[in-house]
């Protein structure tokens, strides 16, 4: 029986990342998908499976019609938004490993800046007050920045992490974006002072520059078997492991009701599974791509994966470990703050490029890349 590690990402594609794409979300999905399929040296007729987010507006059959595909035999959608961005690859890889599909297209596309903005209060969003009061929205938790900050604040409090500490991650991410031509903030690095003088979005946790972008764009990937990958156009990138972890007492976004909010418990437990499945450890990871809708996530995720001890991410970052020449380069594309926010999926593409050796900020001899979205993650490596 084949396993997830018998699969590979063989094609990647994307549109430009912008603030106003000027075209439909379906067109963005189609452009990114076709680019990924062609990158692999395949045609749309070679695709027999599709995976995306439950939150994606693009219907599988609409995309199938647009691409001119003949038949689809597998569809699956991952819940939990960006937290499960890495789970899309687990869903695709599981389908290929089981034989349910031969080649799965993974896509995510939206106009998240020119269309519905995730960062703005949305009266019809998380819950509708027309149905009466609720436990969160009614109390003023009406944007992701606020919803998440209520647990991040506890982390900052417990370990004495300051907003300036958060700023040191942002400066690093923006430095990486500054030398990545695909990044929205290409050529626009910031200083710690720029960060510290940006306005509060959620006092006392997040300033403007701690928040990810709102972006328009689409990305796509093709997953097939590692055996088949050897015959395709690009060097295949093995899915050495891919998993999720969701724990008793946990919730998505409104994750307030467990005893200790100063760690990402799911990241810790997911990591145990990633190491067990791949036979690798922290020391084998050359690059880490970490989903960061807001800067504190990087700190909690680094600690959850065991790259440093709890409360020590601020020192790990301050000491330069996550820069391009550090011991663990993080978010080499500029991350979701610097490159663009395609719901975390653009970070997977960067992981593939690092293993292929084609990233704008290529890390020399990068062999294994951890792509983490807190509660879903994967390790990418050579075939």
């Amino acid at each position: 029986m084949s396993k997830i590690s018998d699969t590979a990402i063989v094609g990647i594609g994307q549109t430009e990342f912008s603030k106003n794409s000027g075209r439909s979300e379906l067109q963005l999905a189609a452009e990114a998908s076709l680019a990924a399929i062609q990158d692999a040296g395949l045609t749309p007729d070679d695709i027999d499976g599709m995976v995306t987010f439950t939150l994606d507006s693009n219907d599988e059959l609409d995309l199938m019609r647009t691409l001119g595909m003949t038949e689809l035999n597998w569809t699956a959608r991952g819940p939990f938004g960006g937290g499960a961005s890495a789970a899309t690859i687990q869903l695709a890889a599981a389908a290929v490993a089981s034989g349910a599909a031969k080649a799965v297209l993974v896509y995510r596309a939206f106009n998240e800046r020119s269309g519905r903005r995730f960062g703005q209060p949305d009266p019809n969003g998380y819950t509708s007050t027309a149905a009466g009061p609720d436990f969160h929205f009614s109390y003023g938790l009406d944007t992701p920045a606020k919803i998440y900050s209520l647990w991040y604040q506890r982390y900052l409090l417990k370990y004495g992490v300051t907003n300036e500490d958060l700023g040191r991650y942002v400066v690093t991410a923006r430095a990486h974006a500054a030398t990545n031509p695909a990044a929205w903030y290409y050529g626009k690095p910031i200083t710690l002072e720029d960060h510290q003088t940006s306005r509060w979005i959620v006092e006392p946790v997040l300033r403007l520059l701690d928040c990810c972008q709102e972006s328009d764009g689409g990305v796509a990937m093709v997953v097939t078997s590692a055996d088949r990958a050897r015959d395709l156009a690009q060097p295949g990138v093995r899915v050495a492991a891919a998993t999720q972890s969701h724990r008793k007492g946990g919730l998505i976004m409104f994750d307030y009701y467990r005893e200790d909010l100063s760690e990402f418990e799911e990241t810790r437990t997911m990591t145990e599974r990633l190491w067990a499945d791949s036979g690798l450890t922290q020391n084998d990871i050359d690059v880490a791509m970490i989903y960061e809708n807001f800067s504190p996530v990087v700190f909690l995720t680094l600690e959850g994966h065991g790259f440093c001890k709890r409360g020590e991410a601020k020192d790990f970052i301050k000491d330069g470990h996550i820069g391009l020449s550090g011991s663990l380069p993080v978010n080499t594309n500029g991350g979701l703050l610097g490159e663009g926010y395609i719901h975390g999926m653009n970070n997977i593409l960067e992981g593939v490029r690092q293993v292929r050796g084609t990233a704008a900020n290529q890390i020399k001899d990068a062999k294994h890349v951890l792509v983490s979205a807190s509660r879903s993650g994967m390790i990418l490596g050579p075939l």
Binding site: L150, E203, L261
Partner: protein, 125 residues
């Protein structure tokens, strides 16, 4: 509001902070659930909370693009009953909130709904 939490808001209308407790094992579930995760019972009663607790975490909720929004303080309150609530903290400034500060419930009309909210009591924790 749903079938599972209507009791909470109805209690608030009467100035009572009600929590859902399992009729079989007494487990308190908040946010409320349709089945007791401890014993799988489907019969629920309510217990009236004392309304006393301590601050666990907090932030100031303002509109992201409206600088003149006065904002309100959102807190996580750990109730004496061992349950955590999201609520608002009234009559204080964000700089004055501290972890573990004792708070007490009050019932306030916001946008036509009665919400349980909290004030710092000034007692020692």
């Amino acid at each position: 509001m749903s079938k599972d939490d209507a009791f909470f808001w109805e209690g608030a209308q009467e100035g009572r902070l009600l929590l859902r407790s399992c009729a079989s094992c007494g487990e308190i579930a908040h946010p409320p659930l349709p089945m007791c995760p401890h014993c799988h019972g489907l019969e629920w009663g309510t217990v009236e909370a004392s309304g006393r607790g301590t601050v666990y975490a907090w932030l100031c909720s303002k509109h992201p693009n409206q600088a003149d929004d006065k904002g309100r303080i959102v807190v996580l309150v750990d109730l004496e009953e061992g349950v955590r609530l999201v609520s608002n903290l009234l009559d204080t400034e964000i700089d004055e909130v501290t972890a573990g500060a004792p708070v007490a419930v009050t019932f306030v009309e916001v946008d036509g709904q009665i919400l349980p909210q909290f004030r710092m009591t000034g007692d020692s924790a």
